[in-house]
Amino acid sequence: MDERKKVVVPIGPYHPLLEEPEFFSLYCDGERVVDMEWEAGYNHRGIEKLAENKHWDQVPFLVERICGICSNSHPVAYCNAVEDLLGLEIPERAKYLRSLISEMERVHSHLLWVGLAGHFLGYNTVFMWAWKYREPVLDMFELITGNRNNYGIMKIGGVRRDVADEDIPTLKAVFGGLKGKVEMLTKAVLDDPVLAARLKGVGVLTPQDIRDYGAVGPVARASGVDIDVRRDSPYAAYDRVDWKVITQPDGDLLARAVVRLLEIFESLKIIDQCLEALPRVRGDYAAEVREIPPGEGIGHAEALRGEVFHYIRSDGSNRPVRHKVRAPSYVNIPTFKASCIGETIADVAIILAGVDPCYCCTERVAVYDTDRKKTMYTFDDLVKLSQEKTRKIRHG
């Protein structure tokens, strides 16, 4: 055995740093990491197999449960794949609605990441700020889709539900108001000497590393690799709105943070243009699709963490015979081989978090009395319960 690989530091499968079960073995020489292994599968749900037993129209509901945060990207990529098989062009209004929802999701996810990155560094002020600004975005999701996550809004041929004209002023006000707040957060994060010291020059990925592992999304763009499915293979309304792909040359953690923060502004720009367009682009918001003929289709979409890829195969029946899903973390996480080795143990946590591996935070509670047929707790009741618990803990 390699002398330097004698000490193994495990991270996971259940570890305070990882919100989801994953297992990393760090082979260390003193403080330095000399090699690393990744083991997955602790949360394997067999989604690809389940999809083979679902009707074509049920699969979007299944794939949006792959990830609570990308719960729109997977259905979009799946619908793109089926529409690729069908050779179907979706209605104009549906295109704008798809882009609107996708970009709202990007804003909330990038804010979530900034907050978590702060939390991993022990900088909880950043965490509190970022999540405070993220909250109204989730409220807007609830307004137009009925849910804060798992929106259930994508379907083959378009979207399941329209956005009402009277909601547009509210959406405009919330996202318009967010710009100034995100600007303040971005400046505060990028000017902070502690964050700069922890992020600058740490976990560097070269363009060659990106190519070797097929890494995508903000991870690739922070290493100067200029790829973005939204521009390169336009779907939804991305070729109808004005925005730009953000890249950074350095490839370190700071570059990844900068890319994500600046992407929020591009998303806000796209949201604004979609909201401007909706009152003018009228007509159907979904094309009717009855049969899926035999064949195969590929769909990809730029999710928050990079390209989501779906491949489907049909034999003409009402279910896919094969459905392959590749989430962006599948190709982004293996870059740890290039980014973590040679770094210190303390930095590995933030480097692993730097690719934004998937987290799920969709838990909400509703207590229902089946005898009296009414909801037992309102939101205010729950807040009161929580405050009482804090008081109890404080005063024993």
Binding site: E39, A40, G41, G46, Y213, D232, H300, F309, P334
Partner: protein
Amino acid sequence: MKILEQLKEKLADKIVKIEQPNKTRLYITVDRKDLSEAVQAVFSGLGGRYVIASAVDNFDNFEILYHFAFDRENVMVSLRVFLEREKPEVESFAALIPGIAYIEREMWELFGINFLNHPNLKHFLLPVDWPEGNYPLRKANG
């Protein structure tokens, strides 16, 4: 399509079948013996971006599709290879594309496709004590 012309030039008579359902998708079928050359031509020769590989159980044979993206040209090239049912095996490309090692492990455990010269062919998603010969994504498995 420029990519198709370049591929035809590099692979010539090794291409068994070309399918082009629309201007952004290209499926190229090759024989197993020519697969290495084809993957090298697409990944190293033409600079395609490795996306993923997906295996399909066709009942009488297995099929693997290696997907490569050409982002500038907006073309997705999928190399298709068929493997015999009795002894499905194909060479590993982990030495050429380090990131492909994980999906090869996945296809090995879920479909029972053997990858020759793989550096680390062991369970990835399934537990280490998963019964040998039980491949969840094979059609015979329900």
